[in-house]
Symmetry: C3
Subunit: 342 residues, 3 copies
């Protein structure tokens, strides 16, 4: 296997975090390939991040062009849209190109029960789930995962209120009743290198959600009159830094999540590369974690030229996308490429 970066390419689908992944790969000396729809290609042309654009009609058609990636000796970087379009099962069973990161871990993040098992094993403070509505004894949020995913979420405080409000959603069966934690959302962007064995915190963000992040702009009296429901569609991300005294805790829980991942079924190498813990900081500064993303998140997009944290450790702009490419480059040069592929 070649130990020269110029013999390899880095490839991904044209969406989600492709801009920073490709830019970062170029900065590390890789040839870059974006697999893009006709509609999206101008984005990757305009920002000059792709050496080669492979056009497909739908992102689901990835497998029709995968052979080209293999011919180019490309390492594929999975991001949220990649996993979402292909499905974690297909990523595991069908992707034949070199793939950065553990494939098995994608199942653990996709299945709500498995994800919860993992997070609890790592000792994280996860919100309580109520299996039985009759047990509701505090404010809860009812989240829908099916046709209403992201929409129609509501808050209830008692079994009675739950049943009353559920009447608006007679056909919904895929929902979860979660303890409602009042506090500010915070997304922590980690990077675990299998080469250095070190855990890094790259940055933080808060999402910009429609309409959750704008209903507060409507005076309460007008909200009530308009009968506004909250929805949580992600439209973008806003940079944020965290209270410095919370960093030791964030390092600790990140390490616990990585450690536990090595004990999970069908994840021989455990979790590595970029990942994100998503939670709420409550007024007592507890971090209540409700989700993990086991790959790069779009919350790193404000930091294509480095974050307030990555600029401390690196003397050059280090996005999470570039950190991935750096990991692959160091693996290639050390003859250890296998160590970062999953």
């Amino acid at each position: 296997m070649s130990t020269s970066v110029s013999d390899y390419a880095i490839a991904t689908l044209g969406s989600h975090t492709a801009l920073q992944i490709l830019k970062g790969a170029k900065d590390e000396g890789f040839k870059t390939i974006v697999v893009s729809t006709k509609k999206s290609r101008q984005v990757y042309e305009s920002y000059k991040v792709a050496d080669k654009i492979i056009e497909i009609d739908n992102y689901e058609d990835y497998f029709a062009i995968e052979e080209q990636l293999i011919e180019q000796n490309a390492v594929v970087i999975p991001h949220g849209s990649f996993v979402s379009y292909l499905g974690h099962q297909q990523v595991k069973d069908k992707v034949k190109a070199m793939h950065y990161g553990s494939k098995g871990i994608l199942h653990w993040e996709a299945d709500r029960e498995m994800e919860r098992t993992w997070l609890k094993k790592a000792g994280l403070n996860v919100p309580k789930i109520f299996r039985n509505p009759e047990e509701i004894d505090r404010p809860v949020i009812i989240k829908f995962h099916g046709a209403n995913g992201g929409f129609g979420y509501f808050i209830a405080h008692s079994p009675e209120e739950f049943h009353e409000k559920m009447k608006e959603f007679p056909d919904e069966e895929d929902y979860v009743i979660q303890e409602y934690v009042v506090g500010v959302p915070m997304y922590v962007h980690y990077f675990q290198s299998p080469l250095t064995g070190e855990l890094e915190i790259m940055s933080f963000d808060k999402r910009y959600e429609s309409n959750a992040d704008s209903i507060g702009r409507i005076a309460a009296r007008d909200q009530l009159a308009a009968n506004i429901h909250t929805s949580y569609t992600i439209t973008g991300n806003i940079p944020v830094v965290v209270r410095e005294s919370m960093l030791p805790m964030f390092f600790e829980i990140g390490k616990n999540v990585v450690d536990v991942s090595k004990t999970l079924d069908e994840v021989p190498k455990g979790l590595y590369g970029p990942f994100c813990l998503e939670g709420i900081i409550d007024p007592q500064l507890n971090f209540r974690v409700f989700e993990i993303s086991a790959r790069i998140v779009a919350g790193t997009n404000p930091y294509t030229n480095g974050s307030p944290y990555s600029w401390l450790r690196y003397r050059e702009p280090m996005s999470t996308g570039r950190r991935i490419a750096r990991d692959i480059k160091e693996a290639i040069q050390a003859g250890r490429l296998e160590d970062v592929l999953g």
Copy 2:
């Protein structure tokens, strides 16, 4: 005409986006001039962006010193305050100094009806306007443009509610009844170069409005007790990045707006240079556009040292202010300065 940048200056009024315009001009090798009040000059001194400060008592006194700008071979950059203090009609009829950008387009952005015609012709998804209050059939926002500009906006859901609430504003005649779109505000910063013919997306922001962006910090019960009205005074800007999968749409609508601008009356060169589309992203990810600014916007101010987007395309810090200076520099060097003046 000289093709040497050192024979030219770049000038603007000391407000709005002058800091980045002047800094960007210096970075491109221009001499810089700020026309400033006594009170503001220390700002431009402190940040060391102006080679020359011309002091005036009021920004409306611009014409009294314009001859000095002409003597210095200065290209004037119009920003929001420049257009606001001088008025689009005076900019068009009286400005004799070299002026970057189409003057005629300023009329199209200033007149609400003309602006709407333009945006609709470009196929943009604009909120419905109700000419007749009796036709109100959904939530609407009543915006005042006269003495109450930015203040006292209210929401209504029916003709009855409209008439009831208007009783608080007996003297207001200059208002518009607009469909109320629930979703997050997003401001898209474009740059269209007449030299390269390319449309670029430089960055995004959300405004920081008093009190709209703080009433959500007040618990609903307290808001109701305090009888708080919403106001929309701009106090600053917050950086944001957009969901990457929305970028193709943003490129497309930007292009449509530029294309249509070339067909508008009295705008021979069409729209070029920086401009901004201002809208709401709703929970279904539709971008509902309610305004266009046909010149640099203050929302680009977080990015004096480059944005998460401009760092992808450029290998140096590229603010929108610097992008303007780059355009002028390239025009000068190509002997095509006329092409960027309006």
Copy 3:
């Protein structure tokens, strides 16, 4: 006294703004020392900002290791946690290491009455304080400073409402009744150099407070049902830029605060180094100031690699932490180190 930077170290406690202080000190050529708990040391190791880590069990144990700092010829930088853990009185009476900044000013910022006297003397527009609840004639916020600090704040509009709501807090005696100003929070980060005599504005931020900055994400009807109280625990900071036309005012009030500080008791050199004015911009663009921090604030943490403002004045990344180190460096090189120590 040596005029060579390499003969000195810069030291601080491992919390608050230590990352940028230490990074900035390294960038200016200093040896860096962090005094850290066992739990926090990995943060300063991971970001590679500390040449030396002195471990202590509690931050209150600072005095047990101070001798080591003196031996290293270290200048100690006080930040919010440093002042909070040690107390302003102990900082003044017991700190023997070289200390950057006026010690006496810390008393003026710590005592609410003295702080208010200072701000009013400087002509700042401070919110009205009601000594007697019977005088409440407008919306007021009741802030607790004792056991409930940051929690349970409430809003009242009349003496009757005040007495009614205070029934929830029968044991609270340490509170203040402050005029409630509706508008957006804004934190202004200043730097006053005793060497250059110049006042600089480094950056701005808004805090990210739990739960104040998330209750607006809950629809009004749900808030009312959940009986949510507002709390103001700081969890992080969000970058923001301010309307450019407000900068002359911000420079003016900053200068007034510095000028008045020189007349205060027991502050021979007045206020210098970094400080912050904390207030609300109301919809009429008045800046209502409710607090001053007379040392570096955590709101500067988004700008470890420079801010949209510092990049205008400096041609290199200039955090507030680095600005401090630059001040000390210039003092050392000019043989004027005494001028920056307090």
